[in-house]
Each structure stands twice: as structure tokens, then as C-alpha cells.
């Protein structure tokens, strides 16, 4: 119960926290592009440097950041091993039975691992420094042009923010249901895959039922508070760009420019 899940908001008052959510979303997208454009360790190093800079200005504890990587440790190790053993190359380092490890494979593996790390960590910084409300406000504002094609932008943003709000509540509820069933002798930890999946069904059903009940009540509460779609709605929080956002755009612009230049003038690892 009450486990802090992946990327939950970390309250602080840092430079990154104060940036406009739209800036942060656009920054993240640009950053991801930059990470994918990076072809060698110089470029990746530049990306990592920018990440360290942001992390330093985010006021988020390193331990909280690293916790977000924990969730993908398995994926990271698995892909790393696959790459290490099966990536072809010329300079053979180790050869044993059917396993061949080449120098290129080692580089490639390190490269991919760093890339994956940066992707996860930079996304984590976004969710750690931005409240779900600010995040959805930002997405709503960025998607506004889609209103032209009658895309329900406001509704989508509201659905997202409500979904985010209910994550801790449903997590608690799952814990409660599991405890109630453990107390009556249910076993979630042992047995094969099939048995474990079967053990989850009795958790899922009460959880879904309760989610529907909650949704129903929330709908009533929203109706009672005059919710009637986006027609006459005003917004309390107005998003404004400041010098911070300008600086952020400058940093990410410089990063992309630098990486494009590196792409042109240096050799690629991959």
C-alpha cells in the first residue's frame, strides 16, 4: 500500500518545476529525437551532459530518479544480453561454444543501454517535476490546433487527469483487496504462471467493479458541480512562458544542432 509508483510528482520548487509544462513536453520530445539522432559516443555524451544539467536543476533526488529505472531493469538487461551475444562484428573478443562476443557488440550494447537509460530518465524527470494537472493542461494547450478537426481536446485532457488522479486510489484499493484475500489464505507468490494468473482474477473483478462504482459517483459529483463540457468553461491556471522556457528552448536547440553537426562530421558507432 501507498507505494510511490513510477514517475509520481516530486514536490519541490526548482528551476525545472517552474518551467511551463508545454516547454517541458516539447523539450522532452526534442530530447528524445536528439537521443535517437545520436550516432556515436560523442553525441550521446552531449545528450547525457544535457540530462545531467537538467537533473541538477530539477531538485529531484538521485535515488528517486534511479527508482524509475528499476522498473525497466529486466528489459535493459535482456536487450543488453541479446545484443551482446548476437550483434555481428569483426573484432572477436570472446569465442566459446556458440557464443561470440565482438568489440562492436560491446560498444553497441553500451550505446543502447545508455540510450535507453537517458530516455527513461528524461521522461521520469518530466513526470517528477510536473503535476498531472499541469501535464494535462500542457497537452491540452499543445493539442488545441486539433480542435479545428473537431477533436475533443478538452474531454481528452480531462479523462487523462482523472485517470492520473485515480492511480493512487486504485493502487491502495488493489493492496486492500490483496490483503483481504491473503488474510483468507489466498496465495499470490507461489505456483506456475497459470496458477498466478488465476490468482489475480479474484483481485481484478472486485477492482473493476469498484472502479465502475467510483466512476458513477464521480460523474454525479461532477454533474452536481455544474460540469457541462467545454462550452462556457474558463481556466483558472493560465500557462505563460517565461525566460526559463526561452532558456530551455535554447538549450535543446543547441543540443539538436550539435548532434546534427556531429552526425555530419564524425563516424557512427551504429
Amino acid at each position: 500500500m501507498r507505494e510511490v509508483s513510477f514517475g509520481q510528482y516530486y514536490p519541490a520548487n526548482s528551476f525545472v518545476h517552474k518551467c511551463d509544462p508545454r516547454t517541458k513536453i516539447l523539450f522532452l520530445i526534442a530530447y528524445i529525437v536528439a537521443v535517437f539522432l545520436a550516432q556515436n559516443f560523442y553525441a550521446l555524451g552531449a545528450c547525457a551532459a544535457v540530462f545531467i544539467l537538467i537533473a541538477a536543476f530539477s531538485g529531484v533526488k538521485i535515488s528517486s530518479l534511479l527508482r524509475s529505472v528499476k522498473a525497466i531493469t529486466f528489459l535493459l538487461v535482456f536487450t543488453a544480453l541479446l545484443n551482446l551475444f548476437f550483434h555481428s562484428g569483426e573484432t572477436v573478443l570472446v569465442q566459446w561454444w556458440i557464443i561470440t562476443i565482438t568489440q562492436e557488440a560491446v560498444y553497441f550494447t553500451i550505446f543502447l543501454a545508455v540510450r535507453l537509460f537517458l530516455l527513461v530518465l528524461s521522461s521520469a524527470i518530466l513526470t517528477l517535476t510536473t503535476t498531472p494537472v499541469a501535464l494535462t493542461d500542457g497537452i491540452e494547450s499543445l493539442l488545441k490546433p486539433l480542435k479545428w478537426i473537431r477533436f475533443p481536446v478538452h474531454e481528452l485532457a480531462l479523462i487523462m487527469s482523472i485517470a492520473l488522479r485515480f492511480i493512487p486510489i486504485l493502487t491502495d484499493e488493489t493492496g486492500r483487496i490483496m490483503n483481504a484475500q491473503k488474510a483468507r489464505g489466498a496465495d499470490f507468490e507461489t505456483g506456475g504462471l497459470v496458477k498466478r494468473v488465476k490468482a489475480i482474477i479474484p483481485i481484478l473483478i472486485p477492482l473493476i467493479i469498484s472502479a465502475f462504482r467510483r466512476a458513477d459517483e464521480l460523474g454525479d459529483a461532477m454533474d452536481a458541480r455544474c460540469y457541462s463540457g467545454s462550452k462556457v468553461r474558463t481556466k483558472y491556471k493560465k500557462l505563460t512562458f517565461s525566460w526559463r522556457d526561452l532558456l530551455a528552448f535554447f538549450v535543446v536547440g543547441a543540443l539538436i544542432a550539435g548532434i546534427v553537426l556531429l552526425r555530419i562530421y564524425t563516424a557512427a558507432v551504429i
Binding site: M1, R2, E3, V4, Y9, Y10, P11, K61, S63, S64, R67, T131, P132, V133, S161, I162, L164, R165, P168, I169, R214, E217, L218, D220, A221, M222, D223, A224, R225, C226, Y227, S228, V232, R233, T234, K235, Y236, K237, K238
Partner: protein
Amino acid sequence: MEAIRFEKVCFSYQTGGAESTDGDIFSPDASFSLDGIDLSVEEGEFVAVLGHNGSGKSTLARLTNGLLTPTAGKITVMGLDAGEGKNLFEIRKQVGIVFQNPDNQTVASIVEDDIAFGPENVGVPREEIGKRIDFALGAVGMEVFRHSTTSRLSGGQKQRVAIAGVLALKPRVMILDESTAMLDPRGRKEVIEVVQKLNKEEKITVLLITHFPEEALLADRALVMHQGKIVMEGKPEEVLKREEELLKCSLTLPRPLKISRALRKGGLSVVDALNADALGEEIANALKNTPVTLPAIWEREEEISVAPLSGEIGRVECKNLSFTYNPSSPFATHALNGVDLEINAGEFFGIIGHTGSGKSTFV
């Protein structure tokens, strides 16, 4: 002026479909949730509605706010006909409902964003929303929590935020639909105090729906509902003394009253007392005049403490037990801190503590 007026209002959850019988499972008379209700609430009045589960009290709340429309009869709220679809928006601005479960009525994760939700919906300009949040948070005494995360508040605090969310719409009527039912005693007290204050200072009409007789005592008027009908009505002090009628509606007397009556039966000359303080005074007075003989139960103390069963079977023993939620995170909470405890087999062990004291963690 009349704030709420019900004229011969009937409501049935089974609309149309005569085959639908699922309502019958719960009560023998499920065809009508409300059966010919006549009710008039004056502006500024504080009315308590009592009733056991399924008596129709929540239906009453939902009808007043236009979440449901009556099957028959007429409802007028602040001079507006609640049966007319075009009035609903206006009525909902005037009538706020605070529901039972605090978790299911907060829309946003941050307190101020949640309070802003109502004013945003009715198109209040931005600067004005800020002022309304100040006002609403001030009224419920939650100013310091303005930027807090709603899911980390206590039940009573969440419910006060919900009240603030309703207040931000500047309603004239506030309905509390069992809003204290899920709270611990402290939370219940917090919420009730806020409601009393709003009624007195802001002159907001309050309809307090509850099944705690003690809460009804604070109202100007009390209604008791049973099987979709209003069966008792009057000053709460009087209504709550009518034991037999209350029992018929599956309600109980307020506890102090029950105790004072039990004492009188036992030969102590006490007058009916409705709250704990008055009861204490009554007992003290009565004891001054009567020679004290301790009730027999105290003398049997020796027998009550059961000799502990021998052997280690079924014995729970804790030594220096500690537990921390979310270790090494900004939200780390020390739930248990060096607890030493022995529980013997066959013991009936009670653990008392306020919310958040670590009782559940211990279990």
C-alpha cells in the same frame, strides 16, 4: 424565502420496465424510493434528515440538485422548477452536494485545482476564481493545504476540500449526503463544525443527511425518513427522544440519551441528557444525592481477567517491531516505531488509536 419546496414528490428507480425486479431484492417496498413527499425548507435553515439505509434520504438529495427528476410531483428550488431541464444549470449553481466518499468526488490531484473545477465549469473569470478559492479555503480552514495533493490528506480534510469545492460555486443551499459516514470521530467533528459555521455566518441553507442521531441535534429541524416517507418531523431534541418511533425506523437514540435512560431504569434519578457533557453533569448531580453502590460488574474484575492459556500455540509476540512505508522516498512514513507486545492465545485484544496512529500497520 423558501429555499426548497417538495410537493407530493414521488420517485421510482424502476422507470418504465415493469419486468425489472432487481429493486425488490433490497427492500420489500422498492417500487417507490420516495412516496409522496411534502417538504418546505426556509432559506438559512439547518435541517437534518435521518433515516436508515434505503429510506430514501439520498434520493431526496439527488432530486433537489436535479441529478434525478421526480416520477411525479413538483420540486421548486430557490424559485426554480427542478423538473425543467433548462433550469438545471442554475439550480446546480445554487445547490451544492457533498457526497459520502471523499475520494470519489475530487476531480483534480491538487487542492486548489479541485476547488477551481466548479467555478471553471460555470465560466467564472480567472481572477475571480482565485478569490473564490481564497474564500472557500478560508471558510473550511484549509488555507495551508492549497497546493497539497488531495490523496495525501486525511478523510476529514478531504471532505473539507469537497465542501470548499462546492462553496466556490457560491451556493445558497448545501446538501451533505452522509458526508461524515466514512470519517473517523475527529474528521466527523471537523466537517460538522465547518457546516455549522457556514450556516451561521454565510447563512447557507443546510440539508444534513445522516444516520448519526448525534449530528441531527445540531440542526434547527429534524426529519426522519422511512420507506420513502417522512415519518417524523420537529425539533431534533424532541424527535430524538421518541424511542419507539425511532426504533420502528431502524434508528437508535443518541448514546447519551440511551445511557441516561438506562441509568434511570437502574434507579438513578437522571433527566434525559442529549450530549455527553449534559449527561456527565446529570450523573454527577444524581450521585451527589444517592449513596453510591458500585455496579456489580466492577466487583467481578477478578473473574473477567481470564488466566492466560499455557503453551505457545496461537501466541503473538512482537519485540521492537518497526515499519516504514516508502523507505528512502520523500514520503517516507514511520508507521511503527519499536513496538513491544505479547498477545496470548484466547485473548480478545483491542487496539485503540486515532487514524494514522499505526493500528492497521500493526495488523
